[in-house]
């Protein structure tokens, strides 16, 4: 009975803290979300050739609904987080700032927040102007 417990009793008790760790977890989550989005995006764009102008415009009408604009905003955050944390990782790969990676993380996040604020402003304006139904 115990051989298996020996292996598993302490597993999951891991050190679940540290900025680098959570940056990585969110980086992964955003990355996986973006993989799924990529295929959805290819599908939507191909609708123009698959079904013609009208099909594409019908799909786009759905995307103007408030819920989708907000989802789009979530997507923008995923892109910004993944992209700017990615900048930090590429810099670390080049050997730049490994000892100062936390400061680099917050600098990258500052850039991400500024960009996000811009997109959020546009999206909220869009909802105020044109948004009607939730779905």
């Amino acid at each position: 009975m115990s051989a298996k417990n020996r292996e598993t009793a302490n597993v999951g008790a891991g050190n679940w803290k540290g900025l680098g760790m959570w940056a990585w977890i969110l980086f992964r989550v955003a990355g996986v979300v973006l993989v799924f989005y990529l295929f959805a995006h290819i599908g939507v764009i191909s609708s123009a050739r698959l079904g013609g102008h009208h099909t594409m415009n019908t799909i786009f009408k759905t995307f103007d609904k408030t819920l989708f604009v907000l989802l789009d905003l979530l997507l923008v955050w995923a892109v910004l987080f993944h992209g700017l944390n990615g900048v930090r990782i590429v810099l670390m790969d080049l050997g730049i700032g490994i000892t100062r990676h936390k400061a680099m993380f917050w600098a990258c996040m500052a850039v991400a927040v500024v960009c996000f604020a811009f997109f959020a402003y546009s999206a909220l304006n869009f909802i105020a102007d044109k948004g009607g139904a939730w779905l």
Partner: protein, 239 residues
């Protein structure tokens, strides 16, 4: 005399399904380390308490534990320097348990051995010692301080995965021989870290840097190895 409460994670593989916590009161004076506290518990309360130790001077790496939520060497952690009088002592998280505070380090050392952690030379040895300039020696300052306590290995989420990642400690050692001007086994060493389960399995999470009780930076070494692999395979440079 002040009294510290030792909150110790216990696990007996013969009787327990899951670990439990036992509490012991340990009176202490100025110089009590956590390791001394564990001895006190063993002598006065429970002789079956198991833990590893050896040098008691922070150079052997045997007594790495998870103390008050941080990786520390029990022998160099003074009870007075910890916040409060309640001290939680646990085995290194996420490692297979042998008993109580003793982890199974088999995989850790097998992987360490895999990178052939010794000096390898092809050329004739000089009559006296192999000389090094101060600059060449300086490159070894950081990685040479590793005492193989396993804290980085225990805290690395890449190690928590499917289990074959060679781990930060072994890669840091690979780096230590890569930057050693006396070592001549460049080609042989490349295969150790230029590996799907080697350097590329590191995702620069930097948990190892946080965990290291000797304040080393394994991530820096691993990143250097990745670039060394590119330099060597794309540009044929050996250094």
């Amino acid at each position: 005399m002040p009294v510290a409460t030792f909150h110790i994670k216990r696990f007996d593989p013969d009787n327990d399904d899951m670990p439990r916590y036992d509490e012991f009161s340990v009176p202490y004076e100025a110089s009590l380390t956590v390791l001394d506290g564990l001895f006190y518990v063993q002598e006065h309360f429970d002789g079956s308490l198991s833990f590893r130790y050896c040098c008691r001077a922070a150079v052997c790496g045997s007594c790495a534990m998870y103390i008050n939520g941080r990786y520390r060497l029990a022998c160099q952690t003074n009870v007075r320097h910890l916040d409060g009088d309640v001290i939680t002592v646990e085995a290194m998280p996420h490692m297979p348990l042998v008993k109580d505070l003793v982890c199974d380090m088999t995989d850790f050392f097998a992987k360490y051995e895999y990178i052939e952690p010794w000096l390898m030379r092809n050329s004739q040895d000089p009559a006296k010692e192999i000389g090094q300039t101060p600059e060449e020696r300086k490159k070894l300052d950081m990685p040479i301080d590793c005492i193989l306590c396993g804290a980085c290995y225990s805290t690395c989420p890449s190690v928590w995965g499917e289990g074959n990642y060679i781990g930060p400690a072994a890669l840091l050692k690979a780096y230590r021989f890569e930057v050693d001007s006396r070592d001549e086994a460049r080609k042989q060493r490349l295969a150790h870290f230029d590996n799907e389960h080697g350097a590329y399995r590191c995702h620069t999470i930097t948990n190892c840097v946080e965990a290291c009780p000797k304040e080393l930076n394994p991530t820096e070494g691993i990143q250097w190895l990745k670039r060394a692999a590119v330099r060597r395979r794309l540009f044929g440079r050996l250094k």
